[in-house]
């Protein structure tokens, strides 16, 4: 099949460039985060190495996600949704238990998290449903859309994986906000959601309650749950304006900072590169998000727009929650920072979703084929 040269021309190159730059920032940071000082010299674990391999796989995934016309996803939306449901149910019966949670399917060569797939599925199904909505959502339409999301979210929360379950709901929620709701729905939600918050407290696990209590006052448990928050703030804060320099962060190199290559990776960055470095990183993330918004605006057809919006929220929530947690603005939840935190399947999914929006951007001028 001959490639239409316009396809390459219309790729949003800034977005692609930003994704690659952020990824390499992440790998560089990971090199530092996986090192620790010994009596003599230092030791570096191989996380950065593995992350590079995953990035390579991610690029392949990205190309695959760019290769086909995204509009085919419209027809694939529901089958993908049901496949995801089946896999999630499969996890419940045949999943692999790690750290007391049944989240993984053993594929032989890797452990696969269907909840990652669920995030992609909800964004495609959401785009499929919402792109058909001509008017702001009323109670019935909203109930329908949320109901679809709840099927996936409910199965994930049951694993239990509250973080991923809520992610699914929040991606969908963001897309719903983008679509807009009727004033009545909006007003009702404004009253109902705060009212329901205390009720949801009853459904939380003890460790989740603990995390929230610790977030509210980290000093109550300085060696336990509050330790993460305190050490993270010390790492970031001690970076000061210019930072301590690459590989010079004492909080990370001496391992006072926990989870420093995964959830708290950006704290390592903040410690070593200071205010200057982390503001640069933040700016890059914001431009990255802005490019996705532009793709959504320019997309050919609402389905493409909504796909881009879904991807926007996929990244937005993770950036907000992870950075918020590291900066002590939010409770500790296990949500990684895209491109910066170590994680194989997350890296793969990140690149695939970048590929998806690039797909939307490169086909913005294509009209009916054949």
């Amino acid at each position: 099949m001959p490639i239409d040269r316009r396809l390459l021309l219309y790729i949003n190159w800034p977005l692609l460039g930003l994704a690659v730059i952020l990824f390499f920032f992440g790998v560089l940071n990971l090199y530092s985060a996986s090192g620790y000082r010994m009596e003599v010299g230092m030791n570096v674990s191989s996380y950065y190495h593995r992350q590079l391999l995953w990035g390579l796989m991610g690029v392949f995934g990205m190309i695959i996600f760019m290769a086909f016309d995204f509009r085919h996803l419209k027809t694939m939306a529901w089958p993908l949704f049901w496949i995801t449901v089946i896999l999630l149910v499969g996890v419940i019966f045949a999943g692999k238990t790690i750290y007391g949670a049944r989240r993984w399917l053993d594929l032989g060569f890797m452990n696969f998290q269907p909840s990652e797939l669920a995030k992609i599925a909800i964004l495609i199904v959401g785009a499929r449903i919402l792109s058909k909505e001509r008017e702001p959502l009323d109670f019935i339409r909203l109930g329908y859309v949320l109901g679809v999301g709840m099927i996936l979210a409910g199965l994930i929360i049951k694993q239990p994986d509250l973080g991923s379950g809520l992610s699914v709901l929040m991606i969908l929620g963001g897309m719903i906000l983008f679509r807009g709701v009727t004033p009545r729905v909006f007003k009702t939600a404004l009253v109902a959601i705060p009212a329901l918050l205390p009720v949801s407290w009853l459904f939380l696990h003890d460790y989740q309650k603990q995390r929230i209590m610790t977030f509210l006052d980290p000093t109550t448990d300085p060696l336990g749950a509050g330790y993460h928050i305190i050490q993270s703030e010390i790492a970031i804060g001690s970076g000061g304006f210019w930072g301590k320099g690459f590989l010079q962060g004492t909080q990370s190199q001496l391992r006072f900072l926990p989870e420093r290559h995964t959830d708290f990776a950006v704290a390592v960055f903040g410690e070593e590169w200071g205010f200057v470095g982390i503001m640069l990183l933040l700016s890059l993330f914001c431009i990255f998000l802005y490019q996705i918004v532009m793709i959504s605006r320019d997309a050919r057809g609402l389905f493409g727009s909504y796909l881009a919006v879904g991807v926007f929220f996929y990244f937005f929530w993770q950036i907000l929650i992870n950075t918020g947690m590291v900066l002590g603005l939010m409770p500790v939840v296990g949500i990684p920072l895209p491109f910066i935190s170590y994680g194989g399947s997350a890296t793969l999914v990140n690149f695939c979703l970048v590929g998806l929006v690039l797909n939307v951007s490169m086909r913005r001028f294509l009209f009916k084929q054949g």
């Binding site: 001509r134 679509r179 807009g180 304006f241 982390i278 959504s296 937005f316 603005l329 009209f367």
Partner: protein
Amino acid sequence: MSNIYDENSQQPPRHGLILLQILILVLFCLFAVRLWYLQIHRGEEYARKAKENQLRQEAIFSPRGLIRDRNGDLLAVNEPAYALGLVREDCRDIDKTLHQIAMWTGHDFNGLKKLYSKNIKRVKPFEPLILIPDLSFDQLALIDANKLRWPGMEVQVRPRRQYRYGMLLAHVLGYVAEANEEEMEKRPELALGDYVGKQGLEFMLEDRMRGTKGLVQFEVDVNGRRLQERILKHPQAGQEVSLSLDLGLQKLTMDWLAEEAGGVAVMDADTGQLLALATTPSYDSNDFSSGLTPAQWAKLRDDPLHPMQNRVIQSVYPPGSVFKPVVAGAGLHYGVIDPNETVNCVGQIKLGRRVFRCWRKGGHGKVDFEKALVQSCDVYFYKMGKKLTVDRMSEFAQACGFGRRTDIRLPHEKAGNMPTREWKRQRFGEGWQGGDNLNMAIGQGYTLVTPLQVARFYAGIVNGGKLYKPLLLMGEKPVVQGEIPLDSEQIERIRKALIQTVDNDRGTCRRLRTKGVVVGGKTGTAQVVRLTDELKELDDDEIPYRFRDHAWIAAIAEKDGRRIAIAALVEHGLHGSSGAGPVVKAVIDYLFLNKVRYKPEAKKAKARAVRQLSLNPIGGVDAN
């Protein structure tokens, strides 16, 4: 299939796009403000906290000054000891860790817990709180193998005092032990588990011998593992101290006293330096520095012979006849006697209705000054005492250093007692009796002296009248504390009499005769109780140990310009010459003839048996 390309020209919702851009802006502003707050507004504070995480400081222990004898032989050294401490900040579960420590070391958990809570305020952050100052090697091996699983446990190596001759020098060197609250309060540089001098020279020379701790800064990781170290302050070792004591002589005197209770002071008459300071029974200094068990402490405390007592400076005794040269000196000084005039001794003298006996029942016949000293004639001194009275005897004796401390550099020295009329009135509420003068003149009654005071006085007799402060350290300048108020001729007269006491065939100190050495001496017997007539009839061996008189002997010896004074006291040793003489003779042989002669085993066995009897008052003669 066609519906996927089914296009409508509808644009995405405009307010939706605006919402997304607002979200980006909010994200940016929220984090920018927070980052500014953390990294710039509070950056310095966090930088300090990061440093606190990363850098720790620890004291480097300074070795305590070594102690040597006058010939350079090591007496007190330092050896490594392993202490177990707990760093509270690193410890996850204090109670569990304390339980584990209790299990490993056999200590009581509640005791450890109490120690922990009592001292937790005393340790700085990240400083180990010392729980067990002295681990055995077995415990050390066990803990070292497992401590990484117990974050917070830290084994510290610190120098611990070791006394090479713990039993020989316990009363001189004293001992070190863990500092108590009070000491830590007084000296802020002391930390929990530090050793300080508690007794003897260790106590008196604490500041000199302790040295100053150093400071090391090191980087730690989250497991408390030490990484790079940097010494901020080098520790300074305590000063080395050389004693004037001669280890060989100390060993010898201690051996002669081994089965007795008594004390010997050997003083260089020209400097005041002590060559030996022996007192028995003794204890082992090492028991204290390694932590005395309650059982060990109870045993020491309840021992009827009081092994902790330094009998040379802390016990006071009536001087008996060794006091006679003092009284003789007073007689010369105040001119109440003509040395050539004789007194007729008929074995007793009457004062009012009381009869004062001479120790020799038949009397000494005509007695002049020298013969009175040589044969220790009581009657001669009774008459002199009567003339001198307490006022002049007391004044003179005080000028000779009696009744006040010698200021030897050891704690808890006793001053003894030199009675006056005033003293007796206050003490007993009655006036001084004429008979008191007589008793005082032969060294009985209210006069109490320490063996060290006696040695100092006798040194004065041999060095021309100077009363030197007794010194224990080499290199200390001699200090003249006073002079015997006699002219050289008078002193010489006393000195000659003392020498005659040894040389004359009727002298009481014949036992001390040594070829080639000019030896003088005076024996003495300090009454413990006024013997009843019944007891008087008994043979010496039959008198119960605790009723037996104390045996004194004071001696001077000189050869080739070297002049020595010796005072020896053996509690319940009966007679000066036989009870206290042998050890003095051994000292003279050692110092002037280089002969080392220890106490024969048979004599030791006999002394042991006598002592055994004293500890068991029911049985033997006592039961009669």
